[in-house]
């Protein structure tokens, strides 16, 4: 039996030469089966042990590590985004508060300035109306003085005219009354 492999090969080679005797087809040469089964057993057991003890746990760990890293990174990114969202919200709230305060300050200032301007305007108006009243009074007195002068001139002129026409000096009270009447008419 020790020669079995060699015999099988020899038979195959022999077939090519004379073509008559049919050599066993290599996959059906029974004397090779034991060797192949032993080799296959050794190879498969080795592969099984390597796979189950070393290879598969190693790859499993690599894949798990990657998964964990990705999840960790995603969680970190989410945390950072939440932080930035919160910061943005705080900023917007501050901005809104500042805007409200600025508006309040603006309104207050405007009102104060308006009030000040009003007071000043009223004081000026009062001064102006006083001056106006003074001026009107001066005008009225000047006019009444002028009017009394006009009356005197008219009386004198009427007296002189009557004197020239009649030669007699008219009574001063009569002349005054006549002038008065004509000025009224």
């Amino acid at each position: 039996m020790a020669e079995s492999h060699g015999n099988a090969q020899g038979a195959t080679a022999h077939t090519e030469a004379d073509g008559g005797h049919k050599a066993p087809f290599p996959p059906f040469q029974k004397d090779t089966f034991a060797s192949q089964l032993v080799s296959l057993t050794i190879a498969f057991v080795a592969l099984y042990l390597i796979s189950s003890r070393l290879a598969l746990p190693r790859v499993r760990k690599t894949i798990d590590d990657r998964q964990n890293t990705i999840e960790g990174d995603l969680a970190e990114a989410q945390k950072l985004r939440d932080q930035s969202d919160a910061a943005l919200k705080a900023y917007e709230a501050d901005l809104a508060a500042a805007r409200t305060r600025a508006q309040a300050i603006g309104n207050e200032t405007r009102e104060r300035l308006n009030a000040a301007a009003d007071t000043e305007r009223k004081a000026l108006e009062a001064q102006l109306s006083v001056k106006l009243a003074d001026a009107e009074k001066a005008i009225a007195s000047t006019r009444s003085a002028a009017m009394s002068n006009v009356r005197g001139i008219a009386s004198d002129a009427a007296t002189a005219i009557v004197q020239q026409l009649t030669g007699a000096t008219p009574d001063k009270s009569l002349v005054d009354n006549a002038v008065e009447a004509s000025m009224k008419g």
């Binding site: 039996m1 020790a2 079995s4 492999h5 060699g6 099988a8 090969q9 195959t12 090519e16 087809f25 290599p26 996959p27 059906f28 040469q29 004397d31 090779t32 089966f33 034991a34 060797s35 192949q36 089964l37 032993v38 080799s39 296959l40 057993t41 050794i42 190879a43 498969f44 080795a46 592969l47 099984y48 390597i50 796979s51 189950s52 070393l54 290879a55 598969l56 190693r58 790859v59 499993r60 760990k61 690599t62 894949i63 590590d65 990657r66 890293t69």
Partner: protein, 246 residues
């Protein structure tokens, strides 16, 4: 020139004798160990980076691929067979792919290898099925909702189909690899035969050469596909052991 020569088992050295039968380290043994070594290198010598490189990607894709196959066919409980299924998948896939390279040997082109794997799966299913379910494992052969009249017939069919599983399981892989490699070799020998016939033959050899290229691509697909089919059938059979009720 002989398309069968590539399947020869050649002794490299003798390991020992068991019951008068010589146990030799052969070219087949060497390719089995090569598949183990390549798988180990792929799974253990590649990086463990956060962003994987090419080889690390292949290792992780192999892992996820087998894990997903088990999860979809056998459910979460099937994951205790993950190292088992993964070993079968990697052994068959890697050795099939290595076998595409010219002058190499394809271990799954030998019926004894595929049969051994198929019976390993068969007995794993049988033993685990009875261990987990006890006699309820027999429900596998009794589909629910079948009229009593035809029940014996259905049970007989189910038992026969269960018992013939290792045959179809092993022959499918074996025959595909064997036929593919013979076809490749036949067309490749046409190229050399025509090429030896002078100037006309050289032009005539272009067609089989193109065919060899196309067939090699096809065999690459078949090599992976048959490994996948073998694996998914393994998962389906394991699913029967876990959930025997239809």
């Amino acid at each position: 020139m002989d398309p069968i020569h590539q399947f020869n088992i050649e002794k490299i050295f003798t390991i020992g004798h068991i019951g008068g039968q010589e146990i030799a380290f052969t070219n087949s043994s060497a390719y089995m160990l090569l598949a183990v070594v390549l798988t180990s290198l792929l799974m253990l010598a590649t990086g463990r980076k956060l962003v994987p490189g090419r080889m690390q990607s292949i290792a992780e894709i192999s892992y996820e691929f087998v894990a997903d196959t088990i999860r979809t066919t056998a459910g979460k409980d099937g994951m205790k067979f993950f190292p088992f299924v993964f070993s079968i998948f990697m052994l068959v896939t890697v050795s099939n792919l290595v076998g595409i390279i010219p002058y190499t040997f394809t271990i799954s082109s030998h019926i004894i290898v595929t049969a051994a794997l198929a019976f390993l799966v068969f007995f794993t299913v049988l033993i685990y099925g009875f261990y987990r379910n006890g006699l309820r494992f027999f429900k596998l052969f009794v589909p629910s909702g079948i009229p009593v009249v035809i029940l014996p017939l259905v049970v007989a069919i189910e038992v026969i189909s269960f018992l013939s599983r290792p045959v179809s399981h092993s022959v499918r892989l074996f025959a595909n690899m064997l036929a593919g490699h013979i076809t490749l070799k036949v067309f490749a020998s046409f190229v050399t035969m025509l090429g030896a016939m002078g100037i006309v033959g050289v032009f005539g050899a272009v067609l089989p050469l193109a065919l060899v290229v196309a067939l090699t691509a096809l065999e690459l697909l078949v090599a992976f596909l048959q490994a996948y089919v073998f694996t998914i059938l393994t998962c389906i059979y394991i699913n029967d052991a876990i959930h025997p009720g239809h």
